[in-house]
């Protein structure tokens, strides 16, 4: 069963990622991206990272993707489809870039010293995660929090700039 599930999820990720990149319509691309994010969430579950998977859905699908679609809708006029224009030279260049990247990544994957072994289910991932976040990784956690707060403030400042 496990193999079938993995293949289905991986296929979902690859196919939707392909559509995300190639779809000329931005909203369609965003919908395809949703599939990718779901697939990645599924893969997380597969790696016994269920909390991460749920968080991925909450933040990326429920939050960031909504904002992306929101942005696309706001910046275009209704009735006019958002089309990404592409031309042959671009395709050639991007194809080359993708090829180089693919070869590079494949090379890295081939040479990386992977740990091979049985995956062991961790009971209570949430608890472990919470404990390590508030003990060992407390500083990282706080710094990340401050960084996010700063970006929040910056966004609010930019949005309110209108009156000043």
């Amino acid at each position: 069963m496990g193999e079938i599930t993995f293949i289905v999820l991986a296929a979902l990720v690859v196919v939707t990622a392909y559509f995300t990149v190639t779809s000329p319509n931005l909203v369609h691309a965003a919908v395809a991206l949703m599939g990718t994010l779901f697939g990645v969430a599924g893969l997380y579950v597969f790696l016994y990272a269920d909390f991460l998977a749920a968080t991925q859905v909450v933040i990326y699908v429920g939050g960031i993707l909504v904002l992306i679609i929101f942005g696309v809708m706001f910046t275009t006029q209704i009735g006019s489809q958002v089309m990404v224009k592409s031309s042959a030279p671009n395709r050639l260049a991007s194809g080359l870039a993708v090829l180089v990247l693919f070869v590079g990544l494949a090379n890295i994957m081939r040479q990386a010293p992977w740990h091979r072994g049985e995956l062991v289910a961790v009971e209570g991932t949430v608890k472990t995660l919470g404990t390590s976040l508030l003990t060992r990784y407390l500083l990282h956690f706080e710094v990340a929090g401050v960084l996010l707060l700063l970006s929040l403030l910056g966004a609010a400042y930019l949005a309110r700039r209108e009156h000043g």
Binding site: M1, F46, A54, V57, G63, V66, I69, I78
Partner: protein, 374 residues
């Protein structure tokens, strides 16, 4: 009790009791059967709730509501049971009605989006117990799973608004997106406080905790506030009055579903009532002891020794949880047929300047409360 990982590793739909070596087709068949069960539950819920809503609104508005269509020869007359077959007739009508798709719409998204909304509600049902042990898969991260999946529905709403190629729909979609994202925060924060006390994200653990101690509604003043915030935010999440701005019929005609008709439109209603049921179920489980009977909980609270007949148990449990859900759905209907609607900025004000600060303060105070009394 399966972990969420087992849910995916043992099968496409978490079937923990199916052995790992089972034939894939068999797993799929069981999964489809369970899916059908959830779908039936949703459809039944919608049909009963629609009938209930009509009768509730009618009696609140000094009229009788549907009273013509009967069922199996039963008419019911001018009483509550009058017109009992009305929703069945409506369902039949909606299914066979012409399904119009606007010429300038985005036809693929137009067709797909309602099912995304429906799918979100459907998947959420997988993780919510409707009685002790009566759950398709009781994940160890149940609460997080339900909130995560429910938040996907908003994408469907935005896409319907965008795909309809109608300015009113677009306004409805934009309002909806802003509203649902905003209200998810107080909703999540209120749940967080319960999770903090219990120490688990699993629905069964939360109810077990309440069985041992007391319902969260009366646990402390702060949890009571959290309950109010949670329920009001839940009403906002499912777009019911006074937060029904995305579909406000007097402003945006029908908001994001203006262009829909027939079966696709029925899907919206199915999802809306399913979402109402989800929010009511979560409120009942998290704050009102789920399937615990009020009688038993009260007796236990008063220190009556174990062994009494508490009206608890699996079957009574379903009765109690469904009673609580029915009550909350009724309250939502009561809101709808009493109050006018808020304006967009007032809606945002309520979320960001009232609910969220209160929720944040609540978390702190509950922490202090637990340190002192816990």
């Amino acid at each position: 009790m399966t972990s969420f990982t087992d849910f995916l590793t043992t099968g496409l739909l978490g079937l923990s009791w199916v052995p790992d070596s089972a034939w894939a087709g068999g797993v799929l068949a069981v999964a489809i059967l369970l899916g059908l069960a959830v779908f039936t539950l949703m459809a039944l819920n919608a049909m009963v709730a629609v009938y209930f809503e009509r009768k509730v609104s009618a009696f609140m508005q000094d009229r009788l509501g549907p009273m013509e269509v009967g069922l199996f020869g039963f008419r019911g007359g001018k009483r509550f049971w009058g017109g009992i077959g009305q929703t069945v007739a409506d369902a039949v009508k909606l299914v066979i009605k012409e399904d119009t798709i606007p010429a300038d719409s985005d036809p693929r998204l137009f067709r797909f989006a309602p099912f995304l909304i429906f799918g979100a509600a459907f998947c959420a049902f997988i993780g919510i117990p409707v009685g002790y042990g009566l759950v398709i898969s009781d994940f160890n991260i149940g609460i997080l799973y339900v909130t995560a999946i429910s938040s996907v529905g908003v994408i469907g709403i935005i896409l319907t608004g965008w795909a309809s190629n109608n300015k009113w729909s677009l306004y409805g979609a934009m309002r909806s997106a802003a509203q649902i994202i905003s209200y998810e925060l107080p909703l999540g924060l209120s749940l967080l406080l319960v999770v903090m006390v219990v120490g688990s994200l699993q629905f069964h653990d939360i109810v077990a905790w309440q069985e041992e101690h007391r319902w969260f509604l009366i646990h402390s003043p702060f949890t009571m506030v959290a309950f109010l915030i949670f329920f009001m935010s839940g009403v906002a999440e499912v777009n019911r009055t006074p937060f029904d701005l995305p579909e406000s019929e007097s402003e945006l005609v029908a908001g994001f579903m203006t262009e829909y008709s027939g079966f696709r439109w029925a899907i919206f209603f199915l999802s809306e009532y399913a979402n109402m049921a989800i929010i009511s179920l979560m409120t009942a489980i998290v704050f009102l002891g789920g399937w615990l009977s009020p009688v038993g909980s009260l007796l236990r609270l008063l220190g009556v020794p174990e062994g009494w007949y508490y009206l608890d148990g699996p079957i009574w449990g379903v009765f109690w949880i469904m009673g609580k859900v029915a009550f909350f759905i009724f309250v939502m209907m009561w809101f709808r047929w009493t109050w006018p609607r808020l304006r967009v900025d007032q809606l945002m004000y309520t979320a960001w300047k009232v609910f969220i600060p209160f929720s944040l303060a609540n978390i702190f105070f509950v922490g202090v409360w637990e340190l002192v009394f816990g």
